[in-house]
């Protein structure tokens, strides 16, 4: 713990923790996405999957226990990731008190790399909204606890909601496009022979996640899933 704290004390260490939590997110996002795709198999499979999430780990874990453990880990990861992001953001913000007259001319940075922070804020806002939407139902007009499939389908029949999700997934896609590559760099996953695969990997991850996630709301809005 002391060592992790000492890691956290330095800017590079903070970034490493961001990358580690980032990996946790990517794994989570993939699992989540595969879960979502069950929507294409109809209500039974989907609701069964939602139930499975609560029973997973049995008999070592009781109903919903492991899911809560995951939630705690994820929450913890979000806190670390966001806290580090905001602290480093501040550090960089004060590091150049006088800006360049007409800005720096971008040469190698990408739109994705330059929007990591605001993109992250969008994601954070989205996560909150998403939880209020489908988990607690606070932001869902016709929420029925336990009826995951129905909540989903009804939820995405509203076009503004679909657009909000599309924007958020766009942000996620950009965040991952830079984040995956950047995370590998931050974790020092670097080898002359394999470096050229880092960028394609990021494209792949970002692309899969984007398509995987938007397919469900789009399919619902388009009436493919009913």
């Amino acid at each position: 713990m002391r060592r992790v704290l000492s890691l956290y004390r330095s800017s590079v260490g903070k970034k490493i923790l961001m990358a580690v939590t980032g990996v946790v997110f990517v794994l989570f996002v993939f699992a989540h996405m595969f879960g979502n795709l069950k929507a294409f198999y109809g209500p039974e499979k989907f609701n069964h999957y939602a139930e499975f999430l609560r029973d997973v780990g049995a008999p070592a874990f009781g109903h919903g226990q492991l899911l809560w453990l995951f939630r705690v880990v994820l929450l913890f990861a979000v806190v670390i990731h966001a806290l580090a992001a905001f602290q480093l953001w501040r550090m960089s913000a004060v590091a150049r008190p006088v800006p360049y007259a007409r800005g720096l001319q971008p040469e190698e940075s990408t739109y994705a790399s330059r929007t990591m922070r605001w993109g992250g804020v969008i994601l954070l806002a989205f996560v909150v909204y998403h939880l209020l939407h489908f988990t607690t139902g606070t932001a869902h007009p016709d929420f029925v606890p336990g009826a995951a499939y129905e909540n989903l389908v009804i939820g995405f029949q509203s076009i503004p909601v679909v657009i909000a999700y599309l924007v958020a997934m766009g942000a996620l896609c950009l965040h991952l496009y830079h984040g995956v590559w950047s995370g590998l760099q931050t974790l020092g996953v670097n080898h002359q022979r394999y470096n050229r695969y880092r960028r394609p990997l990021a494209v792949l991850v970002a692309g899969i996640v984007f398509i995987g996630f938007v397919s469900v709301p789009v399919a619902i809005a388009a009436g493919i899933i009913v």
């Binding site: 480093l88 004060v94 007259a101 190698e108 020092g188 670097n190």
Partner: protein
Amino acid sequence: MNLVLHVWRQASPTVKGGFVRYEAKDISDHASFLEMLDIVNEQLTENGEEPIAFEHDCREGICGSCGLVINGVPHGPQHGAATCQLHMRHYKDGDQIWIEPWRAKAFPVVKDLVVDRGALDRIIQVGGYISARTGAVPDANATLIRKEHAELAMDAASCIGCGACVAACPNASAMLFVAAKVSHLGLLPQGQPERRDRVLNLVAQMDSEGFGSCTNHAECEASCPKQISIDFIARLNRDLFVASLAQTPERMVAGAG
């Protein structure tokens, strides 16, 4: 060719600076960018005005003294070259050129286009070296070094300490500079005993100097006159990770952390 320059003038670190417009007339294609400024300065002097202060020494791209942000690009449009190696054939008649100093809190302006890069020296002073007392060393060929490693160390060691990486970074981070040093020494067998302390201390000092935090934009690599690769940043990250988890450093410098 004739050019219009907008040059940052600032009388001292504490006063506010601003852009002043100058005209550079009859500039030859073959003149270097700094020679173009020399010409402007000669005229200013003759008119009884103070010439534009800018840093330079070797004028062949190796000492790391020079450094101007030209139209938003540190060291100007030519890749892999310092400002002093830039020639006017990259410009055409009538061009408008904005000239600014490196901008970073850690590099306060001394005057006009001259900044204080002492922070980079202080980073080296906390451990960016191999302690080899004069005379107390083995024969040069006693340790064999793989050519590949020696070459890679040389790539990192080619850093001229100009600070363009900081100037180019949207975060004003000095990661490429620190990474180059950590990698140069960390890649060599002679550098192993101090490797962990070195990376911890250098990063701590870098943080305390007020540089920003790297987000892997790779702008540093693009403007580095020696084209030092950001792969070295990955190496630095890995070294720091290992060093932080592996041990509590024995020789943390005062105030670091």
